[in-house]
Structures are given as structure tokens and as C-alpha cells.
């Protein structure tokens, strides 16, 4: 009876217990009850909206009749939809790669700072991540402003012609990815820093005795020890970046010529602004299979490594 909480044996023998009482004494029941508020919260705020989105996606434009997969079929025939798929993948994958690289490099720098001054640096480097993205993106919007760009002003000092940061498709894509990387890199940095701190020093000492260079220490010691955290961080960031809305919405609103729309912003444009809620729901649901595939591969790899250990 490992699942039964410790009780007074004397009291147990004194009176018979009802089935409900026994149930309430189980650790698993207590755990369930304690988790129940969270489960309810998730059911209300996540499961219900998700289920409702699926329901909406199966309705016609006027929301008067069931059309099954009609909205999805319609989307497959739209050029703009495929443009959005391409841009969402480009945005999320590029941003996650750069966030991971920058986070990894900066985490190493911070790790090598003497512990006395490390807290200050950690705090400062986290600033982009802790500011609400809508606010920091507004600041970037001013830097990129079509007419009064502070960045272009700086370029002009060096005689370089102004860049249409949000006015040309290529530059607009670069700008939204840049801002996403700026906001998201500290998250990678802090996760990698935590992972770095958990790598036993003895491994590095042993590697040094064996004559390993710094690169070999990273490749054969650090990276293998960090693999799981790198995979989980990348997966988490991929999900969040795919589902991004605020950066693109504030910075370019999907323009110019729809060249920066991602799933979230286009779903909003079509569903809320354009009044076609079922189609908007169908667009937003397209993230699910893409992320499910990514999650399956990444989590399977982690599980495999876990069982190897």
C-alpha cells in the first residue's frame, strides 16, 4: 500500500473506513485534488478555446452550416496562405537558430565572468526578455520608423543611404526576425547558463588532463551534457515563435504586400478584421500539425537519450 498516506494504526483499527474516506486518503487523490484548480484553469483557458477553434474552423463563412474540412481545402488553393506558411517557417526557424546561437555564446561569456560581477550582467542581459514585447517592439518601431528612423539617422552620419526597414519585403522580414531574436535570446541565455552551471567541473578537469582544447571541451563535454536542455529550449521557443503575434502586428502589421504575415497575424486579419472567423480559426489551427511534428521528433530524441542514461 505504498499509495496510502501514513496513518495512525491504532485509529485505523478502531473504526471501519468508508470507500470515500479510503479514496481521500490516497496520495494520488490528494495530488489530483491539489492539481484540480490548475486542471480546471487549463480546461477553461486552453482546452475549451482550442476545441471551440476546431468547431469554428468547420463552419462556413456565415457560421450557419457545417462544412467539414471545407475551410482547409479553400486555404490550400490560396497563394497568400502558402506565402504565410513559408513566412511562418522562415520566421520561426531562423529566429530560433539565431536565438540559440546567441544565447549559447552569451551564456558562456556570462559563465566565465567571476561570480562577484555575474549577477549584474545576468540582470542586464535579461532586460529585453522581461520588458513586455508589445512595448519593446514599439521602441523598435520608432527605430525603424519609415520617415524618422533613428537607425537611418546613424547610417546617414557615415554617409550610408537609409534602409527601408519595414518598407521592403526583405528588410521587413529581417526586421521582425531581428526584434524576435533580441527579445528571445536572453531566455536561451538563462537556460543555457543554468545548464552550464550543472556540468560537473570534474569532467572539464578530466578533459584538460587528457589535453582537450577549448573547442573539444565544448564539443565532447558541454554540448552532450546540455543536449536535453538545448532540445527542450528549442522546442519551447519554436512553439512560442510560431505563435508570435505582437512583434509582427506592431512592427509591420503583415506588410508590405503581406510579406511578413505569420499564422497569428494573418488569422487575425482574416478572422477578426475581415469578419471571416471560421477561416481565421482554420488558419490558426495550421500551426498545430507543424508544431506537433516538431515536438514529436524533439521529444522522442529526448526520451531516447533519457532511456540510454
Amino acid at each position: 500500500m505504498a499509495d496510502v498516506a501514513a496513518r495512525n494504526p491504532a485509529a485505523l483499527s478502531a473504526q471501519p473506513r468508508s470507500g470515500l474516506h479510503k479514496l481521500m486518503q490516497r496520495k494520488s487523490t490528494i495530488a489530483f485534488l491539489m492539481a484540480l484548480p490548475l486542471i480546471l484553469l487549463i480546461a477553461i483557458l486552453v482546452a475549451y478555446p482550442a476545441g471551440y477553434a476546431v468547431y469554428l474552423a468547420t463552419l462556413n463563412k456565415g457560421m450557419t452550416r457545417f462544412v467539414g474540412f471545407g475551410n482547409f481545402e479553400f486555404l490550400f488553393g490560396r497563394d497568400t496562405f502558402w506565402l504565410v506558411v513559408y513566412q511562418s517557417c522562415l520566421f520561426a526557424i531562423t529566429a530560433v537558430i539565431f536565438k540559440a546561437i546567441i544565447g549559447f555564446v552569451v551564456a558562456h561569456f556570462v559563465h566565465n565572468i567571476p561570480s562577484k560581477g555575474q549577477r549584474k550582467w545576468r540582470g542586464m542581459l535579461l532586460v529585453p526578455w522581461v520588458i513586455p514585447p508589445a512595448m519593446s517592439t514599439l521602441a523598435w518601431l520608432w527605430l525603424f520608423d519609415p520617415s524618422y528612423s533613428a537607425l537611418n539617422w546613424l547610417l546617414a552620419i557615415f554617409g550610408i543611404e537609409g534602409i527601408p526597414w519595414t518598407g521592403e519585403a526583405g528588410w521587413a522580414r529581417f526586421s521582425v526576425i531581428l526584434v524576435n531574436v533580441w527579445i528571445g535570446s536572453p531566455f536561451f541565455m538563462i537556460m543555457y547558463l543554468a545548464a552550464l552551471k550543472s556540468v560537473p567541473d570534474q569532467l572539464y578537469e578530466a578533459a584538460s588532463i587528457d589535453g582537450a582544447t577549448w573547442w573539444q571541451r565544448i564539443w565532447y563535454v558541454t554540448l552532450p551534457m546540455m543536449r536535453n536542455i538545448i532540445a527542450i529550449t528549442a522546442l519551447f521557443s519554436l512553439i512560442v515563435t510560431f505563435a508570435n503575434f505582437d512583434i509582427v502586428r506592431v512592427l509591420t502589421a503583415g506588410g508590405p504586400l503581406n510579406s511578413t504575415h505569420i499564422f497569428g497575424t494573418w488569422a487575425f486579419r482574416v478572422g477578426i478584421e475581415g469578419g471571416d472567423i471560421p477561416l481565421g480559426a482554420a488558419v490558426s489551427l495550421f500551426m498545430v500539425p507543424i508544431l506537433a511534428v516538431a515536438a514529436t521528433f524533439i521529444l522522442r530524441d529526448i526520451t531516447k537519450r533519457g532511456s540510454e542514461v
Binding site: 462556413n60 463563412k61 456565415g62 479553400f74 490560396r78 497563394d79 497568400t80 519609415p146 520617415s147 524618422y148 527601408p164 519595414t166 518598407g167 521587413a172 509591420t252 502589421a253 503583415g254 506588410g255 508590405p256 504586400l257 503581406n258 486579419r269 482574416v270 477578426i272 478584421e273 475581415g274 469578419g275 471571416d276 472567423i277
Partner: protein, 446 residues
């Protein structure tokens, strides 16, 4: 939100003494409490403009013993749009809500018919313009009542000195205070010449070509001026026509004289461009002028709001009305209609317009000559022609006369400005038209 159901019968039964003030009101006020009413108004840009609405509603509530709660909901970040969508889905919320341009048609099934309010108002205050009728009336049913607060014309707002200096145009003589426009020469050819001259003089016109409302509205008016329709009133896709080709060619020429970054402009960009002193003309209601008055008075005293240039098919200006509508789940529809009637009276409309420094426009024909437009300054009379007092231009909206559900998509997805930018950036005309036709085809689905 509403705790008690108060039907029309009960509402009327609970009242005793007639109110002479509200002739058209569908109920009679009494000493007894007549229920509750919840209203969601658009939160005005102009500081202090909400106060007039607030005072009017309080006055009405006290006279009629109705407990009114008011929310001023900003359209920033689409808050009002999201509120409307949420209330529509939940079938719960405010009794009366402010609906922007396309929303009465979008929610037509859920709105209470307002013919009994609109017909007396039209009789008293004159007809409404064709755009209000197109947006607010469906199959003979008035879906909502055009609101004074928030309704606007997005006409040209020009720099008097810069137009004179660079293009030799005396815009005040063309649009004199107190008189009809003398603007026969203000046509699209001369507009193009003026744009070129101002650009060469270092103060280009600031006409956005982004995907937000200001850009779309201007493009819509110019498309109308050429008679260029994308989808006709029957819902047929007619984008591949000569008028569309002409307007795209015209815009291509115009774009050479606009700042290079106009494809990425939003609704704030043109205002900033004018207030900074760089621009010589933008298309905007008087909010840019009001900001200049506060932040750059030397710019404000050179601004003049006037009419659009005339094109081959006429002179069109974008008109964007707000509407007050009543949800069919409202439990106090009689009181809601009475309140809307009261807010639509000439005296109420004038108070709102005054509080907004002339920004707000009543949609009724007889309400375009309030003193505020002739007297606002600097310079005195700068807004005289803003409400189109001489019916000098046809008030329009982009994508009309297409059926609402198609037109709304054309508007929100900025198909017209996207066509302009694609073509102006070197895409072949046929390719641009093919792209547009395919997009439009998608909008016609049911």
C-alpha cells in the same frame, strides 16, 4: 450586465409624463425607474471629446430615470473590434454599441432594425449620404444609426504656404470660407503636377500606400474618381477593366512624387509627416491639424482642409461613419432607441462636434453647417469645407458598391493599395490584375 429584463410594454407602462424634448422617442418618461442601459461608445482621439457624450447621456438618463452605464472603448489595438466580436459570439454585453464602418452589415443578423428611429431622423435632419445608406441599410432595413462621434471625412489637408510656393496654388481662394468651392481646376492632372512640384521643392505630398485605413480610403476615393470597380454591386468580379488600368497608371505616376517609404505607412505616418513640417498635403480628418495646433502651431496656422481633386468620373472623398446599433439580445431596446434618438438630435450632434473641435461629422444633410467649422482656427475657417457643406464631392468608401461581405474583405486586406504598389514597383499590369482577381475570387465564397 443587465440584471432585469425590461420589455417595451413594461418600460412604457412604468412611465407617466410625456417628454417634450424627445419627440421621436418611442417611449414616455415617468417618475419610476425605467430599467438599466449599458452603452459602449468609441473612445475619441480628441482629448475631452468624450465629455460631451457623457454629459448628454447623463442628461437623458436623469430625465428618463434610466440607469445608464457607459464604456468608452478605444479602437487602438482593435479593442473595439474585439469587443464587438466577443459580444456577438457571447450574445451578451452592451445594449448599444458603436459599430465602425463595415460592422453593421457584418452583424446584421444580430442587430435590431432601426427604421423607426432613422425615418423620423431623416425627415427632421435631411437625407444621409449614399455611403451611410450603403453601410447602414440592408434590404430595406436600417441596421444602425449613423453616429456623430467618430464619423469623419478623410479629405486633403494642405499647407497653404507650401502649395503656393511650390505649385502656385492658392488653396484658400479655391476653397473660400463661407462660400462654395471654386475648384474646377482642382483635377487629377493638376493634382499630379502639384505633387511633382512639391516633391521637387522638398515638401512632397504624404499619401500612404500601406494596408491601414488612411491608405485604403485614399486609394478608394481615387479608384472611384476613375470609375474603377473591382467587384460590382451584383458581386461579379470585374477587376480586369480599363478604368482599373487607368487608375493604376495614374497612381504609378503619382508614386514617383511621394516619399519612397509610403508602402509601409500606417495611419500615424501621414500625421507625423505633416506635423513635422515636411509634407505639403495629406489625406486625413482634422486630427492632424489638432495635433499640430498643440505641438507645432506654426504648422497648424498654415493648414487648410478641403476637397479632393476631380477625376474622369467625378469628385469623391472617403467618408467613414461610425454607427450606434442595438444588439438583439438587449433587454431594454425601447430605452436604447430613445437614447440613440436623443443623441442624434441636432443640438446633441452640435455639442459632440464642438467638443471634438470639429472632427465629428453628423451624417445628415442639414447638419453640415455648424458654426464650429467656420470658426475653428488657426487659420480661421480652416475646417469650413471639411463637412462638405456645398455637396461639392461625393462621399464614398473604398470597395463600394460590392456586396458588403466582399467589400469588407477588399477593404481590410487592402487589395487596392496592394495592387497599386505591386504595379508601381514594376509588376506587369496583367500579373497585378490576375493576382487581384484570384484574391477577389476567394472573397466571394459563402
Amino acid at each position: 450586465m443587465i440584471s432585469r429584463k425590461v420589455g417595451r410594454r413594461r418600460f412604457v407602462a412604468g412611465t407617466a409624463v410625456a417628454s417634450a424634448a424627445f419627440v421621436a422617442a418611442p417611449f414616455v418618461r415617468g417618475a419610476n425607474a425605467a430599467g438599466k442601459l449599458s452603452v459602449g461608445f468609441w473612445d475619441h482621439w480628441v482629448p475631452g471629446a468624450n465629455k460631451a457624450t457623457e454629459a448628454l447621456v447623463k442628461e437623458w438618463g436623469e430625465k428618463n430615470k434610466v440607469e445608464v452605464s457607459m464604456d468608452f472603448i478605444t479602437s487602438q489595438g482593435n479593442k473595439l473590434l474585439l469587443t464587438t466580436a466577443a459580444e456577438s459570439q457571447a450574445k451578451s454585453g452592451h445594449d448599444v454599441l458603436a459599430f465602425s464602418t463595415w460592422l453593421p452589415a457584418r452583424y446584421s443578423e444580430q442587430l435590431v432594425p432601426m427604421n423607426d428611429v432613422m425615418e423620423p431622423l431623416i425627415k427632421e435632419n435631411g437625407a444621409v449620404n449614399g455611403t451611410v445608406e450603403y453601410l447602414g441599410k440592408l434590404n430595406g432595413k436600417w441596421l444602425a444609426v449613423p453616429a456623430t462621434s467618430g464619423s469623419q471625412i478623410k479629405g486633403p489637408c494642405s499647407r497653404i504656404d507650401l502649395l503656393k510656393k511650390h505649385a502656385g496654388i492658392d488653396i484658400q481662394a479655391m476653397y473660400p470660407v463661407g462660400g462654395a468651392p471654386k475648384a474646377d481646376a482642382w483635377n487629377l492632372d493638376n493634382f499630379l503636377k502639384a505633387a511633382e512640384a512639391c516633391q521637387k521643392g522638398g515638401n512632397p505630398f504624404g499619401i500612404g500606400l500601406g494596408t491601414t485605413s488612411d491608405s485604403v480610403d485614399t486609394a478608394g476615393a481615387l479608384f472611384h474618381a476613375f470609375g474603377a470597380q473591382l467587384v460590382n454591386a451584383k458581386g461579379d468580379i470585374v477587376v480586369k477593366n480599363d478604368q482599373v488600368r487607368q487608375v493604376l497608371d495614374y497612381y504609378k505616376k503619382l508614386m514617383q512624387f511621394l516619399p519612397a517609404d509610403v508602402p509601409s505607412w500606417d495611419d500615424a505616418s501621414n500625421n507625423k509627416f505633416l506635423v513635422s513640417g515636411q509634407g505639403s498635403l495629406i489625406m486625413n480628418p482634422p486630427s492632424a491639424w489638432a495635433v499640430a495646433k498643440r505641438d507645432a502651431p506654426q504648422v497648424a496656422e498654415q493648414l487648410w482642409t478641403h476637397g479632393f481633386p476631380v477625376g474622369p468620373k467625378g469628385r469623391y472623398a472617403p467618408f467613414l461613419p461610425y454607427f450606434w446599433g442595438i444588439w438583439n439580445f438587449s433587454k431594454n431596446q425601447a430605452a436604447a432607441k430613445s437614447l440613440i434618438t436623443f443623441l442624434s438630435q441636432p443640438s446633441s450632434a452640435e455639442k459632440m462636434t464642438n467638443a471634438s473641435q470639429g472632427y465629428d461629422l453628423p451624417s445628415f444633410e442639414k447638419l453640415t453647417t455648424f458654426k464650429v467649422w467656420a470658426e475653428e482656427s488657426p487659420p480661421k475657417g480652416t475646417l469650413y469645407h471639411y463637412p462638405n457643406p456645398h455637396n461639392h464631392q461625393t462621399l464614398s468608401i473604398a470597395a463600394a458598391p460590392a456586396p458588403h461581405k466582399i467589400a469588407e474583405q477588399i477593404y481590410t486586406q487592402a487589395i487596392q493599395t496592394q495592387m497599386v504598389v505591386r504595379y508601381a514597383k514594376g509588376e506587369a499590369m496583367d500579373k497585378t490584375l490576375d493576382w487581384a482577381a484570384k484574391e477577389l475570387e476567394g472573397f466571394t465564397r459563402n
